[in-house]
Symmetry: C2
Subunit: 359 residues, 2 copies
């Protein structure tokens, strides 16, 4: 078949121009005589790729000079354990906001390293909202406040940076990094797996303020010690070189689109159209309170569960794939990351209308 519209929550759709460039360069990168995946990570060709990767990410997010940008392995889930190991310092407590499945996982793993204070939780709303900031329990003896800026499964997103009342703010931005403008200087640490808005799985970006690192204990593996990796440009050991290259291509694509500000406008438009279609229908509904709806992951249910299978089958027949919702939530989920073209969202909306008309 030809290429489809892929609404997978991650790994997820890549810009087609990125895939075409990777294809064209697969056997030989520029005049190097070899594939990027065959290059020594210490050589001049890969050094160019690595330097551009970091400088492009710094420029796209306007990362201040007093922040390190690391490209690690293990996924954001590894960071659930590595963040407390690296930045608790002499503290024994950390605050976490619980706004969905990914917050819950971060909390569970952090509990092996410190006392976790759940500052607020929207579990009582089945994670369809975000608790009022005025109700948050922020303990000033805590090492940091952690939150998940976008809940991929529940489709809940912070629309602005929360006020941490002076605690270093730590954010899992795996599923919305580079999709909206942020002010990095408001954060202590930002981390994200690459497989949603930055390319293939296999790289974990950690952006961390200088003063927070250098305090890991000796049982933190050196390759996961932020200070050690910062000193070595994330090459304390062999990095996932080909993945770095692919992420770099995605960043260059994003710059060519006009950067984060431009893509944010597109993301606003795409999400607005899809939510409008859901809200105006009688068949589909989205459970999330309007102010907290995610621009990246749009879960929706059909009024009649027995229509789920026919919906997915008909969608696939129309070239619309990976719409099945996460099993913990049920129904459908359309992930519409940066690389999902507006045409894909419009095709989904048209299909949904036609399905509703005929069912």
């Amino acid at each position: 078949m030809s290429r489809v519209y892929n609404f997978s929550a991650g790994p997820s759709v890549s810009p087609e121009s990125v895939l075409l460039q990777a294809q064209q360069e697969l056997l030989e990168w520029r005049d190097s005589g070899m594939s990027v995946m065959e290059m020594s990570h210490r050589g001049k060709h890969f050094s160019t790729i690595a330097e551009e990767l970091e400088s492009d990410l710094r420029s796209l997010l306007a990362v201040p000079d007093n922040y390190k940008v690391l490209f690690l392995q293990g996924g954001a889930s590894a960071q659930f354990s590595l963040i407390p190991q690296n930045i608790l310092k002499d503290k024994t407590k950390a605050c976490y906001l619980n706004t969905g499945a990914w917050s819950e996982k971060a909390i569970k793993d952090a509990q092996s390293y410190c006392e976790v204070i759940v500052s607020a939780s929207s579990e009582d709303t089945r994670f369809t909202s975000i608790p009022e900031a005025s109700t948050w329990l922020l303990d000033e003896q805590s090492a940091y406040l952690h939150y998940t800026s976008n809940e991929t499964i529940h489709g809940v997103e912070f629309q602005s940076t929360p006020d941490s009342n002076g605690l270093p703010l730590v954010s899992d931005m795996s599923s919305n990094i580079l999709s909206r403008k942020i002010d990095v200087s408001q954060y202590g640490l930002i981390y994200a797996g690459t497989q949603k808005n930055m390319g293939p799985a296999g790289v974990t970006v950690v952006i961390v303020r200088d003063d927070l690192i250098g305090h890991a204990g000796k049982t933190t593996p050196p390759v996961f010690n932020y200070a050690e990796q910062a000193k070595n440009q994330s090459m304390l050991n062999t990095p996932a070189t080909y993945n770095w290259y692919l992420v770099g291509l995605v960043l260059k694509w994003l710059k060519a689109q006009g950067g984060v500000e431009a893509i944010e406008q597109l993301n606003i438009a795409k999400a607005a159209k899809l939510y409008q279609a859901i809200d105006q229908s009688t068949l589909y509904s989205n459970p999330v309170a309007v102010p907290f709806r995610s621009r990246m992951n749009v879960p929706f249910i059909l009024g009649d569960e027995s229509l789920d299978k026919p919906f997915l089958a008909a969608a696939a027949a129309n070239g619309l794939f990976e719409l099945k919702g996460h099993r913990s939530v049920g129904g459908m989920r359309a992930s519409i990351y940066n690389a999902m073209p507006e045409a894909g969202v419009l095709a989904l909306i048209d299909f949904m209308a036609e399905f509703e008309r005929t069912h």
Copy 2:
């Protein structure tokens, strides 16, 4: 330029047919409508890729049923810390053989978790040999005996499986896995980064006997807990999906070459020719004692250090790249992994003879 002969120690040369297949499938894998790097790791297409990856590796190495095969992230260096975390169990000591730079790193990192007994060391020979097994100090209260089966930097390789006197045998096989026949049942744990004999960097293979896992403490991150990952087919979190696919292609290529036994014969022939050329010359020499010379990494020095730069320049002009030795050893190093064709080794030998004649 056209593709060169790439003697990099890792990341390193890939089979050209693998690159061609990856190139051809880059925008769409089979009839999936998407690139492998865009696929959900939970979907049916990627499940096929993942299952074939494991079954091909099991079949190539004849892995017994009572061993788990894991595909993790972080590189072999991460395992230096994760092996003691996972398999020390109730022991407080572990034995390590010190045969080169990679053994030294493994020893250093393990010391954060247990008392390391250096059972033997060839440091006094500048790592040009392997101490006699009869002299090894094997402490029966130790959790395991660790050794590095091939020292990538020093060019020293174990030619047979050491006798651990009953201790679970743990081996870093990063630079010679799949290059020679081994009996997995003699090991407790085998680990290897993929970037030498298995494809691109970004995957770490861990083959571990069932009875050794399940004893990690709660401070071991779940994604690096062997038992947790084994229960989840190495998908406790999103794996490096595209890397798994590329490694899978390399394994299928190796099967098509006749498997490990066939490639071992080629490796023996390639290494023998190169060492013979070195030994017969008056310009080049290899410092490693003959019985311990690596089939994978062949370091050699030129009698006159001032010839190093002209040698590298002339080699590059002849399409022979990445021959510079590691800075800790100096001179040259030719890494001739499975994917280096015999023609590449012969071209190097011809060039070396011509350079010697003219210098």
